[in-house]
């Protein structure tokens, strides 16, 4: 992908055009370079924080790496360490699964020129729907029950996001505002439904604000690890399949072409005969489908129930925004970004870090610092591109790249 240094450029195009050309090339190269630099930079600054707290950053990062189970991929890790790594990696991938999907939910809307902050709410209505359907129909055939639950959860997510898309298409209400509002409706809706006396509160556990459990038949099979102790469920494959679907829709269908056209320039798309309003609704609905699926996989895969507390502490949809930003709204990027955030979550959990090496309450804060820095730097990738550009110019020997002719100086 990386263009070979602009060798084929003609010697003397106007300075402005050359800059634009160079920037375009860089941006393409930056598709890979900036997220990597961004991440490394975030880790480096995180390391400084660790150092300031009086710890060895390398040992800490090593512990986070091992705690996330990523050392499982090293063939020389054997015996008890390997078994332990497997357990950790299962947990990392359990967290990664919904992050892939909520990341896609944000990314898809982005490709249509919309900022879907509502991944959390769409995830939550999907999860609520899954608890409801999953804990009803106890006698239903397992795979049918799973299918029904997953499909309805996806529809719930689609409808939830579709509201924001519909409002934007018809009234111009900005999706950032409406999706945030919808998040809160899902948050308090869930708190009401599972709260004491709520319609979905458990009949068995009458005195605590928690839902009934999902029927055994509706639980997703576990393919790695102990099914009784939260092993890795097959939802991971569904999430990976969703990545493919995301790519196919965007790159290989008319719908995807239209969505991207609207994303690039709605006016041009309208001029070209594409219904912008319709694409806003459809793109948001597809976004919500991904997020709703994430909720279903969590509930049927490992969670099996929701409590008011669980509704209120959930952050999956919000982390999805960071995942999409870091993954630059592509399928492959989203996968790796989700894996990074999943690994960061598991790796910095208090059970992974030896309390004698790193105080547990600091460990969790470190994860948040790194996450925050990643998001911050992703926003600042233009800066990275700029530095990259200047560096290249310096290397080419043009120390004063733009003499800034007098044309632009006069008032």
């Amino acid at each position: 992908m990386i263009e070979p240094g602009g060798n084929e450029q003609p010697e003397a195009p106007p300075a402005k055009a050359q800059l634009a050309l160079g920037l375009a090339q860089l941006q393409r190269a930056g598709g890979l370079v900036t997220p990597v630099i961004t991440t490394l930079l975030a880790f480096a600054i995180g390391g400084v924080v660790v150092l300031a707290a009086g710890h060895d950053p390398l040992a800490t990062y090593r512990a986070i790496f091992d705690g996330a189970g990523l050392n499982w991929f090293f063939p020389w890790v054997t015996g008890a360490d390997r078994a332990n790594a497997a357990l950790n990696l299962q947990q990392t991938l359990i967290i990664t699964t919904p992050l892939i999907l909520t990341g896609l939910a944000v990314a898809f809307a982005f490709r249509c020129g919309m900022f879907n902050i509502g991944g959390q709410g769409q995830y939550m209505v999907g999860a609520i729907m899954s608890v409801w359907i999953g804990s009803s129909f106890a006698g239903m055939t397992g795979w049918l029950h799973i299918l029904l639950t997953v499909v309805l959860a996806m529809l719930a997510g689609a409808a939830w996001a579709g509201i924001a898309g519909f409002l934007k298409a018809t009234t111009g209400a900005h999706e950032v505002i409406t999706t945030i509002m919808l998040n809160w409706i899902a948050y308090w809706g869930g708190s009401y439904l599972f709260g004491l006396g709520g319609p979905l509160q458990s009949d068995v556990r009458k005195f605590v604000p928690i839902s009934s459990d999902v029927a055994d038949g509706a639980k997703l099979p576990v393919f790695w690890g102990d099914p009784q102790l939260q092993g890795l469920h097959v939802g991971l494959f569904i999430a990976v399949a969703a990545l493919v679907v995301f790519w196919v829709i965007l790159s290989r269908t008319t719908l995807g072409y239209q969505v991207r056209a609207v994303g690039y320039n709605p006016e041009a798309a309208r001029y070209g005969g594409i219904s912008v309003a319709r694409n806003y609704v459809v793109a948001m609905a597809i976004s919500g489908t991904f997020a709703g699926l994430a909720g279903a996989l969590d509930i049927l895969g490992w969670q099996f129930r929701l409590s008011v507390g669980a509704v209120q502490v959930s952050q999956v949809g919000f982390i999805g925004i960071a995942v999409a930003l870091l993954g630059r709204n592509t399928a492959v990027g989203t996968f790796f970004a989700a894996l990074l955030f999943g690994a960061l979550y598991t790796g910095t959990s208090t059970r992974s870090l030896d309390p004698s090496v790193f105080r547990p309450d600091l460990a969790g804060s470190l994860a948040q610092i790194i996450q925050g820095l990643v998001v911050l730097f992703v926003g600042a990738d233009v800066l990275v591109l700029y530095v990259w550009n200047v560096r290249r110019k310096l290397r080419r020997g043009r120390v004063t790249p733009a003499p800034r002719p007098a044309t632009g100086a006069g008032p």
Partner: protein, 345 residues
């Protein structure tokens, strides 16, 4: 699922073999069942998603663990659970590492404790504020840590009635519950019984806010009770109950706090009915150390074990209250006062 289970059993076996063969990474080679083994007793604590500094059960449980570290010389480890996804891994990690006791906080972890206890039958578990009998399959290696709230309520009611006994006019006290559920009603029933014992002519009011969070709802209910003559309002409604303490301050009547000592919220707080989660954790750890820990049942913490009690009295309350209440407390412990009611009609 059926196909995968044998695979996972094999995995667990391999894991167990590996753990036994290599002695684990930590160097602690002692088996999960031994109590008088080498090295200090190791106790793990798993918080719920409320996290460690919640000014509630997690924090109290942590204080109990810290006290056990200091007094009993045990080695403690706290695992926080930012998400429910951490419950099972946290509990099973501690069990796998051979901790002598794993304490879980709160009902949110009930299902996770049941699973971990089934998978690690040789590890001792304790769960705070959940009855062992309510867990799935009633595991034999779990102890539920529950409380006799009615005893703390009784003392609070007794103190409340004494405080207002010498005032003119009819004597009325009241209670604001979050919802009508057993722990709440145990507090309230005890409070009413204690008040009646101190002053048989006292009138009792009771209401439920149907909310645990919204202070306005509890405040409204408390204000209406105060308007009906209530001079001491007992808040049994979590965060919502803070509205009761607020109403009492506004109307210059007394209030009684709940669970933790809420005296810092003002002089109108006559006293607080305490649920001493820290004491429950400490005593459970001591049981393990003494070899008297038994799973498969509940530990019920009352006044006798200092598992419930009263907080400090307000500076402007009657000076005789502590002395009288201490006497009643001894009578409950010795069984002179018994069969406290646990339900509200």
């Amino acid at each position: 699922m059926r196909l995968i289970r044998p695979l996972s059993v094999v995995l667990v076996l391999v894991l167990a073999l590996a753990a036994a063969g290599c002695g684990g990474g930590g160097g602690d080679k002692k088996s999960a069942t031994s109590t008088q083994g080498v090295g200090p007793l190791r106790v793990g604590l798993v918080t719920d998603t409320g996290q460690l500094n919640d000014r509630g059960f997690n924090q109290l449980a942590y204080q109990g663990l810290l006290r056990a570290e200091k007094i009993l010389g045990v080695k403690g480890r706290v695992l926080e659970s930012p998400s429910p996804a951490d419950y099972v891994p946290n509990l099973s990690t501690l069990a796998r590492q051979g901790y002598d006791l794993v304490v879980a906080v709160g009902f949110d972890q009930a299902a996770a404790v049941a699973k971990a206890a089934a998978a690690f039958p040789n590890t001792r578990f304790a769960i705070i504020d959940v009855s062992q009998g309510d867990l799935q399959d009633k595991p034999k290696n779990v102890r539920g840590l529950v409380f006799r709230e009615q005893e703390a309520g009784y003392l609070a009611g007794y103190a409340a009635a004494l405080q207002i006994k010498s005032t003119p006019g009819p004597h009325v006290i009241s209670t604001v519950g979050g919802e009508k559920q057993p722990p709440v009603d145990r507090y309230i029933a005890g409070y009413q019984a204690g008040a009646k014992a101190a002053d048989p002519t006292i009138r009792l009011l009771n209401g439920y806010s149907q909310d645990w969070v919204d202070q306005a709802k509890c405040k409204e209910l408390a204000l209406s009770q105060i308007a009906a003559g209530s001079q001491v309002v007992f808040a049994v409604a979590g965060g919502c109950g803070l509205g009761v303490l607020d109403a009492a301050k506004e109307k210059k009547v007394w209030a009684v706090g709940v669970d933790a000592d809420q005296g810092y919220l003002g002089r109108q707080v006559l006293t607080s009915a305490l649920k001493k989660v820290d004491q429950a954790v400490f005593l459970t750890i001591q049981d393990v150390k003494d070899g008297t820990f038994v799973g498969g049942a509940d530990s019920v913490f009352g006044l006798d074990k200092d598992g419930v009690g009263l907080g400090a009295f307000s500076k402007i309350s009657k000076p005789s209250l502590p002395r009288v209440v201490a006497k009643v407390r001894r009578q409950i412990i010795s069984g002179v006062i018994k069969n406290l009611p646990t339900t509200v009609s």
